[in-house]
Every structure is written in C-alpha cells, then in structure tokens.
C-alpha cells in the first residue's frame, strides 16, 4: 500500500497546547502559493480519525492536557506526532513557566521535533516530509 501514488500524502490534525500562536501563523503560511503543501497531498483533516500526523505546539497547558491525550488516542496506527516549535520541543520560552508543562511534544512522545521560535515554513515542510518518510517505514 505504501508504495503507491499516495505514499507521501498526509492528513494532519493540529493541536495547540499553550502556544503563542506564532507557530500557528507559520503553519498557516504553508497554504500560501509560495509553499502550497496541498500539492504534496497534505491537508488539515476534520477529525483525528482521519489523521496520519499530529502536529503539536506549545509547552502544554493544564486545560489542554486531557483533550490532547484523547486526540492522540483517537488516531489510528500508524501515525507520527510532530512537535512544532521550541516550546513543544522542550526548551522554548514558555516551557515550565507558570503552570506550563515541559513541552507538549515531549508529553505526547513526538518522534520529530521541528525547531524554531517559530519554525519557518521551510523547516515545517522538512519536518512533515520526515514524518511522511517515517510513516512509510511504519506501514511496510
């Protein structure tokens, strides 16, 4: 199955766990014509059940913790969690600040960490390509 035409297409569910919204602005930029990731067969999906990838931002907030876990549990295997940005990766400015967690990507056991505050669209695209490759390996 993984060798076909849609091998690298990704359904993405995005989780925001105490991010400043900077990572979201750059995730949204991926839809601009300069990047247009829909050409790669990537798109944001309306349910975690449709997702191959969970992208997650922020250090983790108390109020999001349970919803974030439920979202990840709802995804079918195989899937990949991608930590987007320094906060989700564990050393952003909001990690452990106030009641914030140590990095949402760490709590949700991300396999890929895309660094930056926020990461550039180019870096995000690279991270998602790496997720597609990883997913290919998990399917076969």
């Amino acid at each position: 199955m993984s060798q076909g035409k849609f091998a690298h297409s990704l359904g993405i569910r995005h989780l925001v766990c105490g991010s400043c919204n900077g990572c979201e602005l750059e995730m949204n930029a991926l839809a601009a014509p300069q990047y247009d990731v829909s050409q790669e067969g990537w798109g944001i999906v309306a349910s975690p059940r449709h997702a191959d990838v969970i992208t997650v931002t922020g250090p983790m907030s108390d109020a999001m913790r349970h919803a974030a876990q439920l979202t990840v549990e709802a995804v079918s295997e195989p899937f990949v969690v991608v930590a987007v940005g320094d906060c989700a990766s564990g050393d952003g400015v909001w990690c452990e600040a106030g009641s914030a967690g140590p990095g949402a990507g760490r709590e949700l056991e991300a396999s890929i960490f895309v660094r930056g505050c926020p990461p550039s669209p180019d870096a995000l695209r690279e991270g998602l390509r790496a997720a597609a490759t990883l997913l290919d390996g998990r399917k076969s």
Binding site: L25, A32, P33, D62, A63, H66, A67, A97, G98
Partner: protein
C-alpha cells in the same frame, strides 16, 4: 517621555460612582489586582488613569460587570489569580480550570432548542477554545465561549523577574500582537525611567508596528475568505502576507518581527536599507490593492459577508469594543488617533470608521486600514533614510506604577506594570484587544445561522494566547 499615567485613591464605597462618571468620556481598559489593591483603569483624554482601591481584610469586591458587562473577564481573572472575593458577578464560573474540572457550559433551554459543542480542538490551525452553541433550527440562540485552554498562569510567574530580561518573553505572549506588545512594554519601562528616544528610533518603531499591522490584517482578510468558503481569496491573501513576512525577515531577522522593539530602542542593525524596503512595499501595495478590490467586488462572496454577524453601535459601546471590530461599528477607538504616542504624534491622522458592524464592514475597514498603514510606512521609511539607527540604549530601570496603551492590529493593547527600585517586576498585567472583544463575537452570532459561525468568528479573528496567558 515622562510617565503620564495618573492614579487616584478611591474608597470601595465610592468606586461605582467614580466609574459611572468616567465611563461616558473615557475608554475603560479593565480592572486588575495586585494582592489586595485593585486598579480600575481608563484611557482618559489626558492619558491612562487608574482608580486605586485597597481592599481591607475580609472586604469584598462588588461586581462592576452587573452594570458594565465589559468588566466580567477582568473580575473573574482577579478572583482566580489574586483571590479577590467578587460579589454578585454575572458569571460565577472559575475563569481558569484544569482538564479534570471543566466548568459547565451555559446553554439555552426551551422547546425546540438543541445544542452543538465544538472544541477545544478544532479542524484547522487555530487556537483552543470550546464553543457551546444553542440553536433553534438553524439559528443560533446563544453561544457560550469557554476560553482559557491556553492559560499557563504566566502573570504570577512574572513577579520577581528582571524587567529588562523579560522582554523576549513579553514579545512571545502572542504572535499576532508581538510588536505592539513589545512597544507598550518598552514604553512602560522607558517612561518610568524618564528616557527620551531619538526620532530615528521612534520612526523605526512606527514602521515595525505598521508592518505587523499589514501582515495581520492580510491574514485576517484571508481568514474571512476562508470562513466564507472562498479558498482562492484565502490563498491569494496568504501569498501577499508571505511577501511581507519575507520582508520582515530581511529587515529584522524574524518573519514575525519578534524582538524587534526592545526596552531602550530597536534591535541593533534593523531596517538597515529603508530605500529597498520602500521599493518592495510599493510593489506589494499595488498588488494588495488590486487583490482587495477584486475580493470586495466578488458578488457571491459579498452575499455571505453582508448582514452577517452584525454588532450594533450600542452593543460595541457597551462592551468598549476596540480595534477594527470597534471601528467597523462606528466606535472611534484607534489609539494612534485618540492618544498618539511615539512617532504617531507627528502625524495628522484621522482613523478609519464604518457603520455597518457586519462581517463586510470588518473586512472593508481592514482594507482601508492597510492602505493607511502603507502611507505610514512610506513616510516613516522616508524619515529613516540617511539616518543611522542607534543601538538600544541602556535603561536605568526606575520604580513606579504605569499603564501604557498601544494600537495593535486587533486594537488597544495595554500593559500595566509595577516595578521595584531594583528593576524587578512586582506586577505585570497584559490586557489585549482580543480579551476586550471576545464577548462581542458570541453576541454577534445571535440570530445568525450556525454555518456562519466560522465566518463571523474569523471576521474578528481574535487571538487566545494573549487572552489566556
């Protein structure tokens, strides 16, 4: 600039009368507590004004929100974080919560009423919030917006930190209003210290703030197109916005201009070649104007925008609406015009206003504001030509209490700061335009159809991170 924030003590029993008197000719900015001291702040014609009320042991705060619903979030916040006992609040639910104790939503009841809950995780790249929508048929009867999913108790954590060292974090309280907030924070520290900046630095700050406004307004216009299901418009708006983000990166080293305004000045080496920036912006300006003209001439799109999500002027006034959302309902609230600061003082600027208060008005107003931003940019950059911007100056931090207000892309952004003589933060309170405007979003939806919620919501496009903190 010297600190032009003034405050006066008002006893608890006299507060309500003082608020009644001020509210008709000053913009309410909110109320916040530092331990047992509550400051109710306004932007008056002579600058920010605080009413300082000290609550004695066991004394309770009588809710202002009963009469002025604008204060509801503010009071709930000081109850949650400083333990102020707020009496007869119209909404007694805790503002902040953890996953295992989410407060009940408020729902409408009655024959034929049913409900829809969306969030906190959404089918898009958007921040978390839970919306409980009560409907009668297709029409919305009531929406309960539960925010706070991004709450990280940041304000108590700020206390005791070095004010200057905290600047990069202040720049990251919210990605959409970073320059505006950094500017407000820098001004608070500088005005307490009595620091005057050179004209070049002031023009550079104006240029950076207007570049932020252009990229956020373009994003918001693209979001409105998305809310109406017009993907072509969204893609084109994001493409134009991308060009300004790339320019941001070129001039500041950061695509969203984070850390470009710092206490004491602007980031070293920034805006190094104003002539090239002007040329790039002129091309962008033409393309933006062409795009916006075509977008607002698209009749199938207009049919979705016109008449959707109306905020009447009286409602906007009652909630002290700010930013494009306030101005689209006819409220004069542009801080650049009503309380000019920095280089805006040198401009004769009359703010853009509209009357309709619907999604169309909020879109069209932003289009005009982008044009004004390009005017500011042209003139600001011309002023920078041939000037060498100084590196940020060392600020000798001085003790005191202050509130500053800056016009961000989504409206009035205020910083209330109390500093110790050693330059540490005793209290830092951040109130964003989004915090002020959220109650309008839900009211704008009443009577509209459920499928218009994304459209109406996106026409405000309020942030969550600066609201929740």
């Amino acid at each position: 600039m010297a600190n032009n924030y003034r405050e006066r003590p008002v006893a608890l029993g006299e507060l309500r009368g003082a608020v009644d008197e001020l509210i008709s000719n000053a913009l309410p900015l909110g109320c916040y507590a530092s331990q047992r001291t509550v400051r109710t702040i306004f932007l008056s014609q002579t600058g920010p004004l605080g009413l300082r009320t000290v609550l004695g042991e066991g004394e309770k705060w009588e809710s202002l929100a009963r009469r002025y619903p604008f204060f509801s979030y503010h009071e709930r916040e000081m109850q949650a974080l400083q333990g102020i006992d707020v009496q007869s609040s119209p909404d007694e639910r805790p503002l902040y919560f953890s996953s295992d104790a989410i407060p009940e939503a408020i729902v409408a009841e009655g024959k034929g009423i049913s409900g829809v809950v969306v969030g906190p995780v959404h089918a898009g790249i958007i921040e978390p919030g839970r919306f409980t929508i009560s409907t009668g048929g297709e029409s919305v009867v009531h929406i309960d917006a539960q925010l706070s999913y991004s709450h990280r108790a940041l304000e108590p954590w700020f206390e005791g930190q070095e004010a200057l060292a905290l600047a990069p974090r202040v720049a990251r309280i919210c990605g959409n209003c970073s320059v505006a907030r950094s500017w407000g924070y820098a001004r608070a520290i500088e005005e307490l210290a009595g620091v005057d900046l050179d004209d070049g630095t002031e023009f550079a700050r104006l240029v950076l703030a207007e570049m932020e406004r252009v990229h956020v307004h373009l994003f918001d216009i693209g979001s409105i197109a998305a809310g109406a299901g017009y993907d072509r418009g969204t893609t084109a708006a994001l493409g134009l916005r991308e060009r300004i983000c790339q320019l941001n990166h070129l001039v500041s080293g950061h695509r969203l201009l984070f850390d470009s305004v710092v206490p004491g000045g602007v980031k070293a080496g920034i805006l190094a070649d104003p002539e090239i920036i002007r040329t790039t912006l002129r091309e962008l300006r033409d393309d933006v104007a062409r795009f916006c003209d075509a977008l607002l001439a698209k009749r199938s799109l207009l049919r979705r925008l016109e008449g959707a999500g109306v905020v009447e002027r009286s409602l906007a006034q009652r909630f002290a609406a700010v930013g494009p959302s306030g101005r689209a309902s006819g409220i004069a609230c542009d801080i650049r015009a009503i309380a000019p600061y920095g280089a805006y003082r040198g401009f004769a600027f009359s703010e853009e206003l509209a009357g309709g208060g619907d999604v169309y008005a909020r879109a069209e107003l932003r289009v005009r504001e982008i044009a004004r931003s390009f005017d500011f940019l042209e003139r600001g950059l011309r002023e920078l030509e041939g000037r060498r911007l100084p590196t940020p100056r060392q600020v000798e931090v001085a003790a005191g209490v202050i509130t500053t207000v800056v016009e961000g892309a989504r409206g009035a952004e205020s910083i209330s700061l109390a500093l110790s003589a050693t330059g540490r933060i005793e209290r830092l309170h951040v109130i964003s335009a989004a915090y002020r405007n959220w109650p309008l979003v839900t009211r704008a939806m009443e009577g509209n159809i459920v499928p218009d919620f994304p459209l109406v919501n996106k026409s405000f496009n309020l942030c969550y991170s600066c609201v929740d903190r």
